[in-house]
Symmetry: C2
Subunit: 373 residues, 2 copies
């Protein structure tokens, strides 16, 4: 029997999908299932919620359609296997799911799946058709990221005091929906781009001194990190601060955490945290903290150069086009970066001394209450 | 005051280095420091120990040599900063070290360091000159990997029961030398290539049922994972099994764990575990476990093709040349892979059922006592 409310709900949705198909077959109709269109044309920015969302366009996939039949069959296989996983209280990686479903169809010289490129999009179809998350279908992604700080989490029956995990920290799994937050003494959540900076903050006892839950993303945040940030904010009502490099890649990471990503727009409301604030690094920090000597050059060609913009410049120009970066302060930030052609890393703060980031920079920035909007 | 015996030893070595330089200056001599040559010509396979090692060639770096002076200055800067780190009981990422040391030399229009490509090789010079590990110099690398299982580790004064960390597990830090193993009830260590397979084993309670410490490498093992495997084996006398994909990349991972890597040959005795055994996947598994339908093709060109070998084939051919793979069983394994042109992933075992790997495959392989040599 499933343990989570979400599991019961997902099972109900899977069963409804199956029953609709069976019903149509019984009535002699062409069975189909319907899901939202995922192409960019149907991705919209929900201004009120502050995140990306799918629009209203839907499309149907029919069994009795030579162009749809194979995908329809695969969708039914995936749906049926996910139902089994939830009922068995197991999870599977999307790679395992592929191996579990790959077999030769009896009486035919055809495989259900040729490679994982066939099963992966079918999983996304099912997520959108059911308005669900792949984690709710018990499919897990590559885990990445760590957590440190004054919170006790119950995971698989184990109560884990995350303040008592030395400099090692808790590995953030792919699936965090079943985490129970037993108690906490945290004032906020700080998501940190690089694991080296998170290690610095832990070494300086920042999580203890500042009552901060440090989420170390280790680069682009995994689904687990994004979902965990979302539920820490929503369930515990904790403010979220994001600490990235001051460069187009860092701002993109912030963008994904706050508004969601184009490809996964249908999941933004569960994976993104629109109220998250960026505490830095920013272009203004360079002057304010005397970092002029430790900036790095942006990579690629400036928009004014022939063939430009490329690389860092291209990404910065793209970011300027995002609706949630249309605010004039963000436009100014990005334009300054492009004009000056510089980036500034979190670790550049070490130029003063190693503890500066923990005892001066972050407390100042967080307490100032002034963040890019 | 440094806490670890290693710290005291490293301080002694740093001081000796500094004193030698000062002595030569006082005597009016040209100061230098000496370190082993690291080029491949000086990398040897130590048959007795079963690991890669540096040979006896040494070279000197002089201050009063126009080609050496800048590097000499940088080496002294790095050595001096590392001494400071150890004395302050701090660690720094190699990125932070770069930012800490980068400054304009007073009276000159020259920077101590232009970019990190200058400081990184100097760090390695110092490691070899002192016959030390960068972690002993308090420099940390990107952390990666997780640990699960019946062992209590003391880290920064926190006692962590790694059997009580749910499906999240302990994040393996870059620096594990200071870990204290308080108590354990483990029969062996199992290093697992992919985090998804480690998650599978944890979900099946493999670590609990089999008294196994699971080390999830998450791909190519980090320095922390390699060092942790080494000290778990050496300090606790635990057998180590390595579970990788059956492909050239997986065997290379095994090779790095067991014999060390060419680039870091000088550290093999601290990072590698020559007694580690590969439990799979192997070419023989394909027939033994009925995996014929779920193999994948090797990528690239077969050695017999024009322009071949490339990609997977190229790596397999290279592995056949490694001295520790000269045993006829390994030669046969690699030759079979090349001849058949197939690879087999850990997760292919899911084709039977998800729990098969935990309740049948691994216990059988580990108990058989038969491993590739």
């Amino acid at each position: 029997m499933p343990r989570l409310k979400e599991d019961e709900e997902t099972l109900r949705r899977l069963e409804r999908l199956g029953k609709q198909v069976v019903e149509r077959i019984r009535e002699g109709d062409n069975p189909y299932f319907e899901r939202p269109v995922r192409s960019r044309s149907n991705v919209v920015f929900n201004e009120e919620e502050g995140l990306l969302d799918l629009g209203d366009s839907k499309s149907k996939r029919y069994f009795m359609n030579i162009g749809h039949a194979r995908k329809f069959m695969q969708s039914m296989l995936v749906a049926s296997k996910c139902k089994e996983l939830i009922e068995e209280e197991r999870t599977a990686s999307i790679r395992e799911l592929y191996y579990q479903l790959k077999h030769t169809i009896p009486g035919l010289d055809e495989n259900t799946l040729e490679d994982q490129d066939e099963s992966n999009p079918v999983i996304v179809d099912l997520e959108t058709a059911l308005d669900s998350l792949r984690e709710h279908l018990h499919l897990i992604a590559e885990p990445k990221g760590r957590l440190f700080g004054p919170i006790t989490i119950e995971d698989e029956g184990d109560q884990i005091n995350c303040l008592k995990l030395g400099k090692s920290g808790l590995g953030i799994p792919s699936m965090v929906d079943d985490y129970k937050f037993v108690e906490h003494n945290a004032d906020y959540v700080l998501v940190v781009e690089t694991s080296a900076m998170a290690a610095r903050l832990v070494e300086e006892n920042f999580h203890k001194d500042q009552n901060a839950i440090i989420v170390s993303a280790g680069g682009q945040p995994s689904r687990g990190v994004r979902r965990l940030t979302n539920i820490l904010h929503n369930r515990l009502d904790l403010p979220v601060y994001v600490f990235t490099d001051g460069d187009p890649y860092g701002y993109y990471i912030y963008s994904v955490l706050t508004a969601g990503s184009m490809n996964l727009a249908f999941e933004s409301n569960r994976l993104a945290t629109p109220e998250a604030n960026l505490v830095g690094m920013t272009m203004a920090d360079i002057e304010n903290y005397g970092l002029e000597k430790v900036t790095e050059k942006l990579k690629g060609k400036h928009p004014d150069e022939s063939g430009g913009p490329t690389k860092d410049y291209k990404r910065a120009v793209e970011l300027m086009d995002y609706e949630w970066f249309k605010h004039k302060e963000w436009q100014k930030e990005l334009q300054t970066m492009i004009d000056e052609g510089v980036r500034v890393e979190q670790q550049a703060l070490a130029t003063n001394n190693l503890q500066f980031v923990a005892d001066t920079y972050l407390p100042e920035k967080i307490n100032s209450g002034k963040y890019l909007p």
